[in-house]
């Protein structure tokens, strides 16, 4: 089973690594980390680097395609027509096409979410509408073979659900036990609708700071500014 995880400069690592840690336990899983150019890929924090062993020209099909998100990198990716064509090509071959966090904006830009229910990170979920998607605030949303998940950590929940669809609930439960996924967050602040105002303001400030840190000359500043204003947030 070919599981293709697309990685790119500025991705948020946990978006990819959460689902990878579950999906890699599927029988006959063959996970391929794929980028525009193979080699070292720098994540959003700049501290962590992952290795892409394939470039997109080498990959023509997948059973599962996963597009992770990023703080600002997804804006550049969602304007890359060459990438969007590749995503469309791979999607035609998949059993499942999935995203985590702002990865859904890239799927939407590829035209795959038109008139479909989808979700994303709370900071960017409002952007889905401009691509004709129906934005929701579920932890993860399935529409046919497409599953989109909320921000960063939501990929773990989504991939457990996906695993259960592929190999059944019993095996998925074993994968959950394997990674001892018995979450006990010390605070109740992970949901934008339940977090207090101070946490939301601080989280927006962090988003802005991280976005600025992550800016490169390759990013289109005006688009980034529209993101970091987060005027549609909450």
């Amino acid at each position: 089973m070919d599981i293709v995880i697309y990685i790119y400069t500025g991705l948020t690592a946990l978006d990819a690594i959460g689902p990878y840690e579950i999906l890699s336990r599927l029988p006959n899983a063959n996970i391929k980390f794929v980028a525009k150019e193979k080699g070292v890929i720098v994540t959003d924090t700049h501290f962590l680097k992952l290795v892409a062993e394939y470039d997109i020209t080498e990959i023509n099909k997948a059973d599962i395609l996963l597009i992770p998100g990023s703080v600002v990198g997804f804006i550049r990716e969602s304007k890359d027509t060459n990438l969007l064509s590749w995503i469309n090509k791979i999607d035609k071959t998949t059993t499942w096409t999935t995203s985590v966090c702002s990865g859904s904006i890239i799927l939407a830009a590829a035209g795959l979410l038109k008139d479909k229910k989808a979700t994303s990170h709370w900071g960017v979920v409002h952007l889905l509408k401009s691509y004709g998607a129906i934005s929701t605030s579920e932890r993860y949303v399935q529409e046919g073979k497409i599953i989109t998940a909320q921000g960063v950590s939501a990929g773990i929940d989504m991939s457990l659900y996906l695993a259960s669809q592929i190999v059944g609930e019993e095996k998925a439960k074993a994968y959950q036990l394997f990674i001892e996924y018995d979450p006990k967050p010390p605070f109740n602040s992970g949901n934008i609708n339940e977090a207090n105002t101070a946490s939301i303001e601080l989280a927006k400030k962090i988003l802005t700071k991280e976005a600025k840190k992550d800016l490169t000359i390759l990013d289109i500043v005006k688009n980034v500014q529209s993101l970091i204003k987060l005027k549609h947030g909450r």
Copy 2:
């Protein structure tokens, strides 16, 4: 703030990446991925490779030290006296010394958990006793400046708690919101004491299979066999 994450052949990526995704948002965080030899580090699945930018000879201190776990690699690491000396040296300089999953066995082998409460992945937590540690089944356990966490995903909970100790609860809550950590696992199977027998048996089979896959000639087979028997499990 220097946050040193030790990575090694066969590590379980989420053990490191979960805490990294939280701790990297700390003000002035400077995260260093450190290995015995700098370069590409192959994880337990063999599908994912991370980059270590430093080798242990280049790192003499840390504010936070994090030791992630692995399926079998931790056995090799816990017998490496050169590594254990380095861990002891770094620990003398830290404000916090932490582990996720079987990373606590490496801390224990370094002598840092003697007579201390600690935890680990359910599959190996029984090994803590042989190093004089007091094993517990809490999600994460603090004893002084040492915090150990249960398996794989527990590092996210542990690092949120750690962040709150460093910058206070308000900021930690914002980090939780940043990664939208509002866990909604589709099943209730992440805790060995709540999972059903079939899930436990399957999870043990997966552990055995992954352990065999991860064996290299560098691993000491008799020690691995004692692990995969899991005779003390549950």
